[in-house]
Amino acid sequence: MRHLRYLVAAAAIAAFPLVSPNPYFINLAQDIAIAAIGAIGLNILLGLSGQLSLGQAGFLALGAYGSGVLATNHGWPLWATLPVSLLLSAVAGGVLGLVALRTRTHYLAMVTLAFGYIVEILAQRWVDITGGSMGLIGVPQLNFGDFQNGAANYFWAIAATLLLLQMLNDYAMRSRFGRSLHAIKESESFALTVGIDAARWRSLVFMVSAVLAGLSGFFFAHQAGYVSSDAFGLDRSIALLIAVVIGGLGSAYGPILGAIILVILNQLTAGLYEVSYYIFGGILLVVMLFFPAGAVGAVQRLFGRRAAGGSGAVPDTAGAGGAGAGAGAGAGADTGGAGVPAQTGDAGGTAASSASEGAAGIAFTAPATGQGPILELQDITKSYSGVTAVNAVSLKVMPGTVHAVIGPNGAGKSTLINVISGLYQPDSGSIRFMGRDITHLAPHRRAALGLTRTFQNLQLIGTLTVAENVMLGLQRGSGFARGWLRWLASDAEERDERAEALRLLRFFGIERLADVLPGDLPYGHRKLCELARALAQRPTMLFLDEPIAGLNEGEAKEIMEKIRGLKALGMTVLLVEHNMSFVMQLSDTVTVLDYGRKIGEGAPDVVQRDEAVIAAYLGTGEA
């Protein structure tokens, strides 16, 4: 379906200057395409990764001057200046991205604001190079040697670039790249534990958005043959932001829609210069307060589609994806939709309907039993400003067993969990996993080794469906370029991922809920969904943080059955839980913590008879 959409778009681009040779409209269309290129970059940054830049005009200026100055004053050809201007914005983006690496959202917003200001001042005052606000005059225009049709040629060049970027953008948003960014935005600690290197992704995305802004600036510089520093003020950054916000944050077609609205708005309000800040400021307030999903969201609501934030980025089925809002491809959706049941049917045919048989389709690496511990903690100590939460705890988890850690509140269980998964660094002691020292390994690397955890407070990504959440666990796959080419050629990658996600959901008996948002599920089903996602990571060892907290008896029983099923398949499970009867029925080994120390360990019936344990825990009443 998307091929049709792109072909229609390409045809429209090709035909536009011929159908409407009016230079005013061609110029307007150029403006829209230039703004849309910058907006796509900002949308990936803001809508997907949740980072806000208020200094895009700075990157725009670097792109514009980088090429404009070299071409005008030094006579460089444009094919040589383009890489320079992209490089300039990439380097600046990389440096500012260092801030994105380690700081919080509003820091980045303010830092980019300052960056934009610095660039603007430099452009204004460094007159020798930039011409200041008088402008750089006589910048060569890109007309491909045909002065007569220069404007049309230039439009084709920009619009073709935009189309290509849109295709890349669509892939980025629908593939694991987009899902990863969603995960980082919603819960960074979760992202780390499914093996996503959040810091790297954030700074990478920042750089990409800077380069796209630079590209937009490049096209801007060679559009009118004149570049003035007035073009790169804060209002430019805000205008770009408004385009993204109006269009709909995080939606695939929001930037284009927003760019169209912005350029038309600029035309309509050209005479209202005196109140332009009222207009822009008012738009920011009204859109954020009343239409946070933007124009794409409004269109979707109009047609009754799921209107959760960023839903445009994550169409729930291939069929719905065809109905790209505002792309005018609605007619194609029906045919696309027809293909979906067929796929599901195929998958259902190979794996039989009963859960136990479906389980055979679940893949993970089960290490051979009887080879010594799979996870080994040696004298782990962790304290916070004087309070020792975990004190010299050692622990051995044998492969293929269910090992429980119990203890009253404040016993240090949570700290121990976070130390094992790598969110906290222990003060002393060591952790070995499958014979390898992982004490100082970053959380996402531990996840990559097969140490997979779930959270006591569920960390499902609210803007992704259940199936997509599970697909988030499937963090492998091809690189971006290869993935994109395969995606252009066929739906195979996405279909395979979805089929695997459904297989996992079937094991947990919640396949029918695949296309529901997690927020709409009862708590027990959300727990199952999280287990399915953990399993999607193909863990060597599952690490469950209070898997039945907050569940009723029936739901708890269901979870217990599933964990038994996994054990039967050879999975190693480490769990932390309050519920004694659950732990005693399920575990092979139980470790008891109290005040940060290990006070008992052994088989459930042994531990239950241990004096110290009874005194510390069982004796003080039912937990």
């Binding site: 949740g50 700081t103 959202t105 917003a109 303010m110 946070p292 960023g310």
Partner: protein
């Protein structure tokens, strides 16, 4: 550089730096209660500068002018919270919710800028002095000559900082802020009127911006878009000081002002950019600030 020049630069720097400190405190206080900064806080300052300038030029006594400006700004501050912050709490979790406050507070500030532009025009103005009889009233101390106004500005700012410190760490209100900052739900269960604490914090933010605006007016040129620089500097100061570290903010604010005065003296063309570049580099190298953050006590 002569010693006299140095002393003069130091005092100018301290005066401007204490205004940046006030801006930084304003950012801090709303961050504590709502995890949001007012990105239009510079525009609040701008409105205060314009108002006090207009009142003073019309012959209003300084005390009356200050009271009027404070009152107007408090209304703006509470209005900002009501209009641009509180409604966001009901927003469904999604792509926009965690960033919406940046855009709404900024939008609010843009409305203020446009208003100022319509009322006072686009020109630059000079505000009359608040304290000295003439703007150029010069005092001599140890051979150094400096403006009395600057010295008094720094003193007033320090008093305000002290009062705020007392509010946060000695008065009951400060404990309420700490509770709200820790967890809104828990705070309300403890009988704290969270809405009132939040609204008060925005009022205090506005008061700080008002004082900054009144003090800054005679030291700089007043124009509709002056706010951007002040919010940037205020934020730089907060970052360098360690985000929620009140003493760090004070030291960073004064330091920023002094560095700025020096760099302007050394390079009159691009000197005003140096402090920003230094602050940017600083953030990259030490994102948690000069003294780190007080993790335990987030006031």
């Amino acid at each position: 550089m002569k010693t006299a020049d140095l002393v003069q630069l130091l005092i100018s720097g301290i005066a401007m730096g204490s205004i940046y400190t006030l801006m930084g405190k304003g950012l801090l206080i709303t961050f504590l209660t709502t995890r949001a900064l007012n990105f239009g806080q510079g525009d609040f300052l701008m409105i205060a500068s314009f108002l006090s300038m207009t009142l003073l030029l019309a012959g209003t006594p300084v005390v009356v002018a200050v009271v009027v400006v404070l009152a107007v700004l408090v209304v703006l501050g509470v209005g900002l919270e009501r209009l641009a912050i509180r409604p966001l709490a009901n927003m469904t979790a999604g792509s926009a919710s965690s960033l919406a406050w940046i855009l709404t507070t900024m939008g609010f500030g843009m409305l203020l800028q446009n208003t100022a532009q319509l009322v006072w025009g686009k020109s630059r103005f000079y505000s009359p002095p608040l304290f000295a009889d003439e703007q150029k009233k010069v005092v001599e101390l140890m051979g150094a000559r400096f403006y009395l106004e600057e010295l008094i500005v720094a003193l007033v700012a320090m008093v305000v900082v002290g009062v705020l410190y007392w509010f946060l760490f000695r008065a009951r209100w400060g404990k309420e802020v700490a509770a709200v900052s820790f967890d809104k739900g828990t705070a309300s269960l403890l009988g704290i009127d969270v809405r009132r604490v939040v609204a008060t914090s925005y009022a205090i933010m506005a008061v700080l911006a008002a004082v900054s605006g009144i003090l800054a007016g005679p030291l700089t040129t007043v124009q509709a878009h002056m706010g951007l620089l002040f919010i940037l500097k205020g934020f730089a100061v907060v970052c360098i000081g360690g985000f929620v570290n009140p003493v760090g903010i004070l030291i960073a604010g004064i330091g920023f002002g002094i560095v700025e005065a020096m760099s302007n003296y050394v390079d009159s063309a691009f000197g005003d950019l140096y402090p920003f570049i230094i602050a940017l580099l600083f953030l990259i190298v030490r994102p948690s600030g000069l003294f780190g953050e007080f993790k335990a006590d987030v006031r």
